[in-house]
Amino acid sequence: MEGIDSAVYQALLTRKYLTRKIMPMLAMVAVMLSVATILVTWSVMGGFLATLIQSGRTLVGDVAIVWPNVGFGYYDELIEDLEADPMIEAATPTIETFGMIRLPDDRIELISIKGVDPESYSRVTGFADTLWWKPIDEPTPKDHEREDLRLQADDLKTEGGIDLEQVLENGLAMSRLNPSSGEVEPAGVLGIEVTGLNERTAWGGYYPWGANRALPDGGIAYDHVFMPETGSVVLTVLSLDSDGRPVDPKSITMPIANEFQSGLYEVDQGTIMIPLEVLQRNLRMDEARKVRFEKDTDDPFATVYDPATGTVRPKMKEVVGIDPARVTTVLVKKAEGVELETMRERVREIYAQFASRHEGQVPIAANMSRQIKTWEDLNRTMISAVKKETGLVLFIFGIVSFTTVFLVLAIFWSMASEKTKDIGILRALGASTPGIAWLWIRYGAVIGIVGSSIGTVLGYWIVSNINAIHDWIGKTFKLVIWDPRQYYFIEIPSDVDPQKAIIVFVVGVMTCVLGALLPAWHSARMDPVKALRFE
């Protein structure tokens, strides 16, 4: 006897209903579009998130040991310990602080200043890759006319004297030749968006622009500035004493060696990197002679005349020591294949051993434990914001797509009503109520599978060709949705995660089955006698 597992007539009728009716085709199209839309949205938003996360990771390594403001000493020893561990590939000291920057057009802005050791910083982070001004062979994906200056490095060298090879080297070494003195000076690497003198182009690159300066007489002076060639900025930092209190502001004129683009607008618009020792010196975090006065235990009753006060006071013994150079952060890069959390634990252990050797000189391990952060912790706010946005967009599209359930329900209800007599006939021939219900559920599942399959393939195709499609829309309808001048990524992300595709496919099928449930239940409960009399 037939049942829900034995369904030759169901298979036959499903096939016939599918091929002979327009309504199931409409349901299939609805499912297809819904599945394709969700897949495209999820893939593109997921692509943004992945790119953003990758960008956020670029300049912070894997794990950071952070003791802000006053920083901590003996970091060279800590780095030696860290690099001796097989889980750790490299480590680098940095200082992170805030200051003021005066730009070539005399604007003064707040800026995040990073003191880095360029050589070790490049080993730990993707710093070298972020340097923008360098010769390149391949244009950006949207630079169809090969307008990028970096492609014309040889011509620039001949015509304007700008040597991009040298600019790259300068950036990597954080130094620049001073033509007047003939000396190589420490130089900074500026976020590409900081000055506002680099115009973001439609092909996703930059074109150096001039600076308009307001003059005291009310006029405007125009200076053509290519920062890595002649540009410099003035940084003002506030040094702190060992208790973290501000001591005195210091201004540093810093030539610019190169500019970087990390992929995070917030970073590129508000960060400058300068050599570590320069920042240490100006923040008074470099190695210093330390003088401490103690009671003279050899002659406790000795006195001395103090010419400053004109009084006699007890004689103190002068103890001279060395205050080690300090940094606020040590960035660590994990070895290949090591889990992030595992490495964080290992870094904690190494720091605990280090702290025990320097008791009273560096923050204790218990306090530092929470300050040892992964790159995910450091970017948590940004990542969670984008994740939430992705979730929100998906939720909205999900709700919109949920209407497919009702569309399928409406179509199936209509079909089930139209097929009332067929149901009566099948019941008269001995079909069971579960068998009738299964007929419709199976029908919904088939529509779901076919619609979702086509939708998944369509979505995959759209995502894979989204940039070409976007370019075509732009050319044909003059409609540019994705403009690199407004957005930070040159191209729309175009990778489809197979796992997401499977989830969207399954949800598409479930949507149809869900939409078919009510009509199936209704049909199964139909009185066969009434069904046979249905006109």
């Binding site: 030759v8 007539y9 002979r20 006939i425 069971s432």
Partner: protein, 262 residues
């Protein structure tokens, strides 16, 4: 020909009728039309002997189709004071059977023929005939019997003069041809009882007569029990026995030659 009995005789046959294949006792049925209750059958008693052709004759609305549906397990009789009438088929009371048993009964023991053919419009003639076998045997059963079923369906259709129409759809057939397909469908599982509800009611006289001839010929050859609902006295006259149903009650049973037996 079957024996002529009165209603009382029917009752006695129910108690001791060992040859009854279907036995209906005190069956009542009321339909609800909105809030209004419309009684259709008022305690019907009826016996159908094995291989007998019984015709239920009655005017429109007399309850004959309802009785046929009850006998076919498509519906259940009403309860009265906690008691439900009985419809015995080979000793089993259909009124007390579960849904699955009734499904099985309709698929295996009963063949239905309707006035308006009730073919599935999307299926071909051959598929329409085979669908009953698909339902009865399920996937595995049908797959193993598929060629035998199709062969039987083809034979039945050839027997009814439709051998050349196997792949046609119902919409491409005449009324008479459709009804022949419906009869072939009803017979595909070799049922014990054929229940026909006005099988010629929608056909012209000549076509109706030929359909009836085909059914009679098959019945005589196969020894099939047949219960036919009609309001046509001429058709009734050809049956073994005629039951007259008036306002939901059996008022008269007579022999097929229309001679009432008192």
């Amino acid at each position: 020909m079957g024996s002529a009995t009165s209603t009382q005789h029917c009752e006695s046959a129910a108690t001791g009728g060992s040859s009854s294949i279907l036995s209906v006792r005190d069956v009542r049925k009321t339909y609800k039309l909105g809030r209004v209750k419309v009684p259709v059958l008022h305690g019907v008693d009826l016996d159908v002997q094995r291989s007998e052709w019984v015709t239920i004759l009655g005017a429109s609305g007399s309850g004959k189709s309802t009785l046929l549906h009850l006998m076919g397990g498509l519906d259940r009789p009403d309860k009265r004071e906690g008691q439900r009438g009985s419809i015995m088929f080979e000793g089993n009371d259909l009124a007390r059977q579960g849904k699955r048993a009734l499904d099985r009964y309709r698929a295996d023991d009963i063949g239905f023929v309707f006035q308006f053919y009730h073919l599935l419009p999307e299926l071909s003639v051959l598929q329409n005939v085979c669908v009953g076998s698909m339902i009865l045997h399920g996937r595995l059963g049908y797959m193993s019997k598929r060629s035998a079923t199709q062969q039987r369906a083809t034979e039945l259709l050839e027997r009814f003069g439709l051998g050349h129409r196997l792949k046609h759809r119902p919409a491409e057939l005449s009324g008479g041809e459709r009804q022949r397909v419906a009869i072939a469908r009803a017979l595909i599982n070799e049922p014990k009882v054929l229940l026909a509800d006005e099988p010629t009611g929608n056909l012209d006289m000549k076509t109706g007569a030929s359909i009836l001839d085909a059914m009679i010929e098959y019945r005589e050859n196969a020894g099939l029990t047949m219960v036919m609902v009609t309001h046509d006295e001429r058709i009734a006259a050809r049956a073994d026995r005629v039951i007259r149903l008036v306002d939901g009650r059996v008022v008269e049973a007579s022999s097929g030659d229309s001679q009432p037996v008192s």
